[in-house]
């Protein structure tokens, strides 16, 4: 039960209820949609990149609390980061939600996603916006993750 409380801790519930930057970004320089074909969730990530830095990030979509909170956190921590740092963060978050750690080294509240690592059925939900981010930076407009 404590694990459930960790997963659905205040920060995640709050980001799900009031997602930050939950809108289309126009104009944007990069965008991509992440699909989870198993559950039908989708998250669209929009970026405005200038001078090699992410200036703005936003998202839209229909997804569970974990994916929504993960996308909301993404949109908070990304602005100001150089593109290579944003790319590196994708790999770090994917490791965090699969293997878990204290999360202390992550910017903002991002570390709370570490709780997802104890729910192997759900780590793809947390990954979804980050996969979409990666696809956006690659100028692919679609990314797909699977929960199985």
């Amino acid at each position: 039960m404590n694990e459930l409380a960790d997963l659905y801790q205040r920060v995640i519930i709050e980001h799900n209820r009031n997602p930050r930057h939950f809108h289309r970004l126009e104009p944007c320089t990069h965008h991509a949609t992440g699909y989870n074909p198993l559950c039908g969730d989708e998250v669209r990530v929009y970026l405005r990149v200038e001078n090699g830095h992410v200036q703005q990030a936003a998202f839209q979509g229909e997804s569970c609390a974990i994916a929504t909170a993960s996308a909301s956190l993404l949109s908070e921590v990304l602005p100001g980061l150089p593109v290579p740092r944003a790319r590196a963060l994708v790999a770090e978050v994917i490791r965090l939600v699969n293997e878990g750690d204290s999360g202390d080294s992550f910017p903002g509240d991002l570390g709370v996603l570490g709780a997802v690592s104890r729910f192997p059925g759900r780590n793809k939900c947390a990954e979804l916006p980050w996969k979409a981010l990666e696809a956006a930076l690659d100028n692919d407009h679609e990314a797909s993750v699977s929960t199985e």
Partner: protein, 418 residues
Amino acid sequence: MSFAEPLQTAAGGLDVQAVRRQFPVLDQQVNGHPLVYLDNGATAQKPEAVIEAEARCYREYYANIHRGVHALSQRSTAAFEAVRGKVQRLLNAPQEKEIIFTRGTTEGINLVAYSYLRPKLQPGDEILITAMEHHSNIVPWQILCEQTGAKLVVIPISDAGEISLDDVEDRIGPRTRFVGVVHVSNALGTINPVKEIVELAHRQDVPVLVDGAQSVPHMPVDVQDLGCDFFVFSGHKLYGPTGTGVLWGRYELLRAMPPWHGGGDMIRSVTFEKTEFADPPARFEAGTPNIAGVIALGEAVDWFLGLGPSAVAAHEADLLGYATERLRAIPGLRLIGTARERAGLISFVMDDAHPHDIGTILDGYGIAVRAGHHCAQPVMQRYGVPATARASFGVYNTRDEIDRLAEGILKVRELFGG
């Protein structure tokens, strides 16, 4: 444990506690709570008799079938072939040789698509299905349409999750070559008026396949009464092993169909110039089948017939009625699928919680439900939801477990409801 333990109460209903004792997997804690297994629509658990039948085959008499003069092969062959008769009784099929063993419902539908229908299709021909089909009764037909220029025509569903026979009649035209219809919807629980659909189709000489994956485990099924031409189901949803299934077809249709897979066990004679194919069912069972699985499926069929499909249907109708009443009382919960005739399951969404989150939280309380699109994405699109949570019932479920489900959903509401 005694397999001979009576499973009916004196009043003729199911003795559910006695039934539960036959399922070893149910006796466990999940996340610190007694397991409540409500994912029977995805797959059912196995009674001791089925587990034991498969193990006994391997321990005592396993060998390849249809090709050995030795004792074990003869015993395995006899046990395997005896299952056809059991399935014939289950479906009230006219003939034993109409029972073809497959890997499951999906394979049965594909077999009919490729062997029966594809050779007959011309550009502009139509295949009729409903808007509540499982992907397995959509995609094979779509592939045929792409290959042949035929067209998929879809019967719409109402807000409650029902189809209208007028819509069916309107859509069966001179170009309709085939009808594929789900008996009980896995996403909505709707029981379709299959017998009436068959009558309408047969007036135009159009054959009908019925997807019985979600009906056979929950009610009496009589293919002669339904009047259909093909009927398919999966063993694993009928308390039998995975990788087993059945295609029943009218013998005159099966007899005229070319083989689907070529290989051993489906031939009469082979030379490099010409191969003579065996008659059905062997024609459609190329290669070594799931021998021990089919034998255990026979045990599952006997076990299920022993319970009595009518008694099962009555028990599950009680659970469905009770669950509908309990869940309807929860604010912010919406049932998806409210057809007058329903069986086996209840599908729902909540205002503030996504089905995945509902599934995870219920799992935290030991309750197993399915969350997702149930391989029926067109149904989800119809109701404007990405997914639903689904509680699906089996013979061993109880009203107490429905109470646990309702309490679990209230916990979800506490967490998400604000």
